[in-house]
């Protein structure tokens, strides 16, 4: 009993110190950002890396999610005589929830893990130390570009993903419920509020930050052994996804009171 308690206590403390490290890294990143110390070339490279590497899997994920959702919704909506709202219901769910959250999870798995792996390898092979000896702050040179890439690219991917999801939804609504394009898209135009889309984008910005900070932190704090890089990579994905779930709940409650 006592050992369970002490294990819980130790776990709690470890969690606290982890949050502390994350906050410190985040603060240092923000300080560099506000000082305007941004390496343009690496930032653009990171943005295209995050975007290009994640886009295919985001597209596939969102396309099928949109189709499945539309299938379920069409079934129910037709039963309730609300068939005219199918398009809007798909779009609303995409904008509020699936667009940002699902995209973020996919990006965490794809780009967050590669951030941790890349920085972890640099740590193990002393490249981070080499940066420091060349008067370059690793946070400024490595974290800031990835932070910006996460913050900008995840919302963009979420937007594209949401759109793809809506299109996927239409394909199913069309084939199974005989919905016309005009009816499907008009119901979206008539009912979906701009704010809903904006709120989804705000969520995605936060998720992008979470992915980048956790991925970079795992990389920078990798211990100096090559098997540690693999562990850091796995942890980056798991922790990022957990934090995305928690942040999603909090943000949903704040943005949709």
């Amino acid at each position: 009993m006592l050992s369970v308690l002490s294990a819980l206590g130790a776990g709690f403390l470890k969690g606290l110190s982890y949050i502390g490290e994350l906050s410190e890294l985040h603060m240092r990143t923000l300080i560099h950002l506000f000082r305007g110390a941004v390496e343009r070339k690496t930032t653009i490279a990171q943005m295209s890396h995050v975007g290009v590497s994640s886009l295919p899997i985001v597209v596939v994920t969102m396309l099928f999610s949109g189709m499945v959702m539309s299938y379920h919704i069409a079934d129910q909506a037709l039963m309730l005589g609300a068939g005219a709202y199918i398009g809007w219901m798909v779009a609303e769910t995409m904008a509020r929830e699936l667009g940002p959250a699902l995209t973020a999870i996919v990006v965490a798995a794809r780009a967050g893990s590669s951030m941790a792996a890349e920085l972890g390898t640099m740590k193990v092979t002393e490249q981070i130390d080499a940066l420091r000896t060349m008067a370059t702050d690793p946070v400024q040179y490595l974290v800031v570009p990835r932070y910006l890439a996460g913050m900008i690219m995840v919302p963009m991917l979420a937007l594209i993903g949401g759109l793809i999801g809506v299109l996927g939804g239409f394909v199913i609504a069309d084939t199974t419920a005989g919905m016309t394009a005009a009816a499907y898209f008009n119901s979206i135009r008539a009912n979906l509020e701009l704010w809903t889309i904006a709120a989804g984008i705000i969520k995605a910005v936060f998720f992008g930050v979470i992915i980048a900070v956790i991925g970079c932190h795992q990389g920078l704090y990798t211990e100096k052994a090559s098997e540690e890089v693999g562990r850091a990579t796995t942890r980056a994905v798991v922790y990022a996804i957990m934090l995305i779930y928690i942040a999603n709940l909090a943000l949903t409650m704040v943005l949709f009171p």
Partner: protein
């Protein structure tokens, strides 16, 4: 390019003996004697370093004067790399101070350290090249945001440095395509790019063939002669070290066994130094290497 270099390339020009330049062991350039009357550039005072509660270094004291080539020798695992990391403030000592230009760099924060590190260069034991960048980008990394140099000047300097370490024309290759010794030489070029006042070399000649390792020693000496840069070299290549260093510190048993000139090293009767300098195996290991 200084004169010695021109003489060498001219000699190498006849087509019949194309390998002349690589086969010839370079003459070690002459330098002015080091002036030890002024302020030391680097002063180490009572430094102690523990890792995970284990004492790695203790009671380390020495000074390095401007323009000096200072060697650090010691057995594998004696703490040479650990000491070098303290000198460039990658790690901080648990006790004591590392004074560079009258400033205790062990107590500076990272922002101030970045200012200090602009006048230092470091060549890592395992090269530590950035493997996402080409050789050229690696070498020019420290001046990438330097607006006082044009891109052409940067390219020219990179080419000169690469030629100096006999890696001319490799700008566009990736580090992964290079051998260990080639990476090492690129990392030396990288350390010299921003004209450092103080250069640290961690095992600059390990993994190199004897000719190249001798060339690197000559290069270090040449850089010091040309630019007046101070060098701290870690190496267990005793012959080269005795050949180029002005003074050498021998690390043993977590602390300094002796600091002295190469001649003082050769004539020392401290057992570990005798073993090292005269190439004798330690008692625990079997066999006995031929004495030098």
């Amino acid at each position: 390019m200084p004169e010695t270099e021109n003489v060498l390339t001219e000699q190498a020009q006849p087509e019949e003996i194309p390998d002349d330049d690589t086969l010839a062991v370079r003459e070690i350039p002459r330098r002015d004697p080091v002036d030890r009357t002024g302020e030391p550039l680097l002063s180490i005072r009572d430094v102690r370093r523990e890792i995970d509660g284990e004492i790695i270094l203790t009671d380390i004291n020495f000074d390095v004067w401007p323009g000096e080539i200072f060697g650090i020798m010691g057995m594998s695992g004696s703490g040479k790399t650990t000491l070098l990391r303290l000198l460039i403030a990658l790690d901080r000592p648990d006790e004591g101070s590392v004074i560079f230009h009258n400033e205790d760099i062990a107590r500076l924060d990272e922002d101030d350290l970045n200012r200090v590190r602009k006048s230092m260069g470091m060549c890592f034991q395992y090269s530590a090249l950035f493997d996402s960048m080409t050789v050229g980008d690696n070498v020019s990394f420290s001046v990438r945001n330097d607006r006082s140099m044009s891109d052409d000047e940067k390219r020219e300097k990179v080419a000169d440095l690469l030629a100096m370490v006999e890696m001319a024309g490799t700008e566009h290759r990736m580090p992964a395509e290079l051998s260990g010794g080639m990476r090492k030489r690129v990392s030396i070029a990288r350390a010299l790019m921003d004209d450092p006042e103080l250069v640290f070399y961690d095992e600059p000649s390990s993994g190199l063939d004897p000719v190249m390792s001798c060339n690197i020693s000559g290069l270090i000496r040449k850089v010091s002669a040309d630019t007046g840069a101070t060098a701290v070299i870690v190496s267990h290549d005793v012959d080269n070290m005795l050949g180029i260093a002005d003074r050498i510190l021998m690390l043993h048993d977590r602390t300094t066994a002796l600091i002295g000139t190469p001649d003082e090293m050769r004539s020392s009767d401290i057992p570990i130094i005798r073993r090292f300098v005269h190439g004798l195996a330690s008692d625990q290991m079997t066999g006995r290497c031929s004495p030098r």
